[in-house]
Amino acid sequence: MGRIVLDKVTKRFGSVEVIPPLDLTIEDGEFTVFVGPSGCGKSTLLRLIAGLEDLSSGHIEIDGADVSTVPPAKRGLAMVFQSYALYPHMSVRKNIAFPLRMAKLDQAEIDRRVSNAAQVLNLNDYLDRRPGQLSGGQRQRVAIGRAIVREPSAFLFDEPLSNLDAALRVGMRLEISELHKRLKTTMIYVTHDQVEAMTMADKIVVLRAGNIEQVGSPLELYNRPRNRFVAGFIGSPKMNFLEGAEAAKHGAHAIGFRPEHLGISLTEGEWKGTVGVAEHLGSDTFLHVHPESGGETITVRVDGEFSARHGDIVYLTPVAEKIHRFAADGLRIQ
């Protein structure tokens, strides 16, 4: 079980309010991702749930029990830190066994759980090494191992992949997703990387300056962003925005359209522009088009085979039903 309810949770550091009153429910077994730009309070929120920071006001409930003032160890949560926070003077085995030793389990049970975790995480060959002798990915796995042996009601991940290189990150992303499918335990995952959020989450919580901007499944957020911030944050490359006359045609303060929802033609279309930089990824090419009417560059996602060079004239047409309209206050217009 691991249903977590935040009720009007706030956090102040001195006179600075980093989390204004916030309500959120995380269902049992859900993979929830907190995503937002750096400094948006997502890590603070995670630490509040963990109990590493004290609430300024409000309540946190885990499985119906108010844990607002319960110390971290008694909340039944396990956390994986950004720096992994392994104990450098202990072997991998002792690292993983540490929470069990602290819980005063008997040795046979400790051994059983540690070897289980090592099995699950492919750590059998490294059990007697020190963390210093492991690679980044292996350390990450040890940190996860230390978390799973406790059989917690929920896992908390604080940007666990940000210290890994790109290739390893993709691999660990899969492993964590797989782990979640297997354990079916609630997981809360903090990241600033929207790709991680989109690929792993059942539910994404987009945060900005401590406020929840939107909560929803990855596709909900992608298809129906509640406001301009979410629209710009979710999706890669970023959504294009136009204001002024073009937006007024659609009866909005601003319109947004994703790079993949633009038609491109060499002969005719709604907007005329010059190709600036072309980024070739092989499967796709991102063209940065300077519109003739001036204003910001428009990013277009085209097929990798599309040949356009710097300085070429192209015509762009947005897919009508994929245009997002936003009011002056940034909210989506339905």
Binding site: A73, M79, S83, A85, H89, M102
Partner: protein, 289 residues
Amino acid sequence: MATQHSRSAARLMMAPAVILLLGWMLIPLVMTLWFSFRRFLPNRPDIVPGWVGFDNYVRFVTSSAFWPSVQTTLIIVGGALLITIVLGVLLALLLDQPMWGQGVVRILVIAPFFVMPTVSALVWKNIFMDPVNGLFAHLWRAFGAEPVVWLSDAPIFSIILIVSWQWLPFATLILLTAIQSLDSEQLEASEMDGAPPLSRFFYIILPHLSRAITIVILIQTIFLLSVFAEIFVTTGGAFGTRTLTYLIFQRVLESQNVGLGSAGGVYAIILANIVAVFLMRIVGKNLDA
């Protein structure tokens, strides 16, 4: 070859410093060795100077004062190490906490290190430990107790106290920097893992400090072996506070037996080197891990 040129030029320019340092070290060492094999009592014109072989070495070790002085030395070094490290760790933990006036408090804690050994010993002797006017005497009397005559009733302990007071800042400073280098996420992780404060200290903080502690032990041992001023101005070597260093001093300056004292000096060099080799090994092992 530019590099070879600059290398020899560098050697040439370093030479004066190296020669000076070598001379500084080697001349006294060689002179000590020289005297240790000679009969040399400058104040006794009736005793003719001359070679005596290992006589001085044998006499120094067989003298009744030798083993007690080694024992005293070890007790003082061990006691001071114990006090400075235990209190040093505790003080470092305390100073690591955020508090008002942290900067000032840290400077105050470090202050004793800047006081000369002679001065600090005099301060302790006259202001704290004086059985009539000392602060401790007043304190004892305030509770209706008989004042302790520190320097004759508990002479070794008094000296350990004085020496510890001087070296505590050093230990605290090194241990404090070590504590500050501890990753706070490790502490948080152990907190989430259910470790109560005491376990966090023993399982996380103390192992993290082990290297700093060995370094403190190493450096302090080398300096504590040669503690002298504190004994000279307090007990003058009486009441069983005669350390090896002090014994050598007495042989050379009080008995005016330069040869015998020099032999003692050579023993002290050997002892210090044994300790140094031991500690180097421990530190080396720690640095590998």
